[in-house]
């Protein structure tokens, strides 16, 4: 042992190369050592769900910063890094993710994008919600403005996924979850979208409730355009179902005796109450215009166009509102078509014959009450009568051969008189007209067929 001490006094010369060796070792191993420890620390903390993880290694000391989603998770992550072989000290800068109170999450939609905002409970659920939004809204840009926070209510994720499905049905609007309370606002994309969303909300997970559902449906629009040049009536927009569709097209065919009906209607849910009862008289009013547009938007009816003469414009403006179900609004913007040039009696007769060849004045069966569907035709006849102010006109009623002659005679007279009364009420001077009934004495077709009978039941205007 003594000899060892004696030798050791002469060991110092080796220290000089040792120091050099040490310096080289320190210089060349520091960076690889730090990289190795950083990789191992990262691997060790990977088992815990963390956000904003940052690992810095200085020598053998690790600075470990991260946001954890539970106290247990935070502790176990720090312990795992401490247990990495070679790590000397862990500088613990971990913390818990802030708790959101109330826990608010939202999905907002405008024309071009969907924005997910508020809080999400975990990074995994955040990306799941984003993926779901991208899948549900194929093609629409999805913007992520979600933060991570603790304090989400149970079953939050399934509630949010359900609501993301609903946002696809919105044109614009916002859906918000605040703790367990769901509120919705905005405009549905399609007719029926509001109802579809309401149905979807019934599947919200247990514990969640809808506190406000202010989703609006887009207006239920029905449009009819009478084009005097193309001689068409174009119907566009929505009708509640196929029965109403068929009834409206049939009514249009009766009221617009001259025009071809172009039917572009689609059936859709969401019609306001009393739709059919309001649209039918509105179409009747449109039929009295020379050119015009009817727009029914929800419970608002807008009619604009040109009437054939002054009295008709007044009647249309004031008369129609009465026919509508309660709660409906009616706006009429009716002007009067400029009076056409006067014509002589021959041309006048020709015009009457043309009109009555295209359409017939209809009456209630067996009675002398004019069917409202004939209002359009009568307006055209009145307009024509106004063009020949000097002509005297006989209004002649005819019937088919069914029934006894006396009642047919009486009926034809009454019907001719009813038409004359209508003309006088419209402002034409009574002394220009005579009403005459001819019963079945002047048939224009055979009374043996239904078709022929229908042709024989008629009103004629004869210029004298």
């Amino acid at each position: 042992m003594q000899r060892l001490f004696r030798w050791s006094s002469k060991w110092w010369p080796g220290l000089i190369p040792l120091v050099i060796l040490w310096a080289i070792a320190a210089w060349s191993t520091t960076a690889p050592l730090e990289a190795d420890l950083a990789a191992q620390s990262a691997a060790a903390s990977n088992d815990t769900v963390l956000d904003k993880r940052r690992i810095e290694v200085d020598g053998r000391d690790v600075t470990f910063a991260a946001d954890a989603f539970s106290e247990d998770g935070r502790r176990s992550a720090v312990a795992a890094v401490k247990a990495v072989p070679g790590v000397r000290l862990v500088n613990d800068e971990t913390r818990l993710v802030a708790e959101a109170k109330p826990f608010v999450w939202s999905a907002g939609r405008d024309v071009v994008r969907v924005t997910l905002g508020g809080s999400a409970p975990l990074p995994a659920s955040k990306s799941k919600l984003l993926d779901a939004a991208r899948a549900a809204l194929g093609g629409v840009e999805v913007v992520d403005q979600m933060n991570l926070a603790r304090g989400a209510p149970p079953r939050f994720e399934s509630a949010a996924l359900l609501l993301i499905d609903q946002i696809g049905k919105l044109k614009d609007g916002k859906i918000t979850i605040s703790d367990t309370q769901v509120s919705l606002a905005g405009m549905a994309r399609d007719l029926g979208g509001r109802e579809a969303i309401a149905a979807g909300l019934k599947n919200l997970p247990e514990g969640f409730s809808v506190v406000a559902n202010d989703i609006k449906a887009p207006p239920y629009v029905f449009q009819a355009y009478k084009d005097p040049v193309a001689v068409t009536l174009t119907l566009t927009g929505y009708v509640p179902d196929n029965a109403v569709h068929a009834a409206l097209v049939a009514a249009a065919g009766r009221k617009f005796f001259n025009e071809k009906v172009v039917d572009n209607l689609k059936a859709s849910v969401g019609a306001p109450g009393g739709f059919a009862a309001a649209v039918a008289p509105a179409l009747g009013a449109l039929s009295r215009l020379s050119t015009g547009t009817l727009v029914v938007s929800d419970r608002e009816v807008n009619l604009s166009g040109d009437a054939f003469y002054d009295a008709a414009s007044l009647q249309i403006r004031n008369g129609l509102g009465k026919d509508f179900p309660q709660g409906w609004q009616y706006k009429a913007d009716i002007s009067v078509k400029p009076a056409a040039a006067p014509v002589d009696a021959t041309v006048c007769q020709q015009l009457f014959s043309d009109l009555l060849g295209k359409g017939k004045i209809l009456f209630e069966s067996g009675r002398a009450t004019i069917d409202p569907d004939s209002a359009g035709l009568l307006d055209r006849l009145i307009e024509t009568a106004l063009r020949c102010p000097n002509a005297n006109i006989e209004i002649a009623g005819h019937t088919d051969a069914d029934g006894d002659d006396a009642s047919n005679q009486a009926l034809s007279e009454k019907r001719a008189q009813a038409v004359m009364d209508y003309l006088v009420k419209a402002g034409l001077p009574a002394d220009r007209f005579t009403a005459a009934g001819y019963g079945s004495t002047r048939p224009v077709a055979s009374n043996d067929t239904d078709e022929g009978k229908a042709q024989n039941r008629r009103i004629e205007f004869v210029v004298r």
């Binding site: 000899r3 060892l4 004696r6 030798w7 050791s8 006094s9 002469k10 060991w11 110092w12 010369p13 080796g14 220290l15 190369p17 040792l18 060796l21 040490w22 070792a25 320190a26 191993t29 520091t30 050592l33 190795d36 200085d58 020598g59 053998r60 000391d61 072989p85 070679g86 000397r88 000290l89």
Partner: protein, 98 residues
Amino acid sequence: MAYLAMFHWGWLLGALLLGLVAGWIAVVQRGRGVSKVTARWLAVLVAALVAAALARIVPGRPGYWLDLGLVMFALYLIGCALGSWLRDRALSRHTPPA
């Protein structure tokens, strides 16, 4: 420590070999050795460095370098002791005691 040994085994082996050589030479070296007083001060210095390393009061990279240096120094000392002992045995075998 096991991690340091595995990670730096090359450098530590170098320190050990250096110690063996220094110890081998020391036995027959004629020059003056370190005086007792100096040796004592050096021992105190090393003890202080060891204490600092164990207490982990030197932070970051200097702390790592200190650990590395002390480990290398320890192996150097072991090498020296082995080298001197081996040289001593070799000498005593060739030249019988006078």
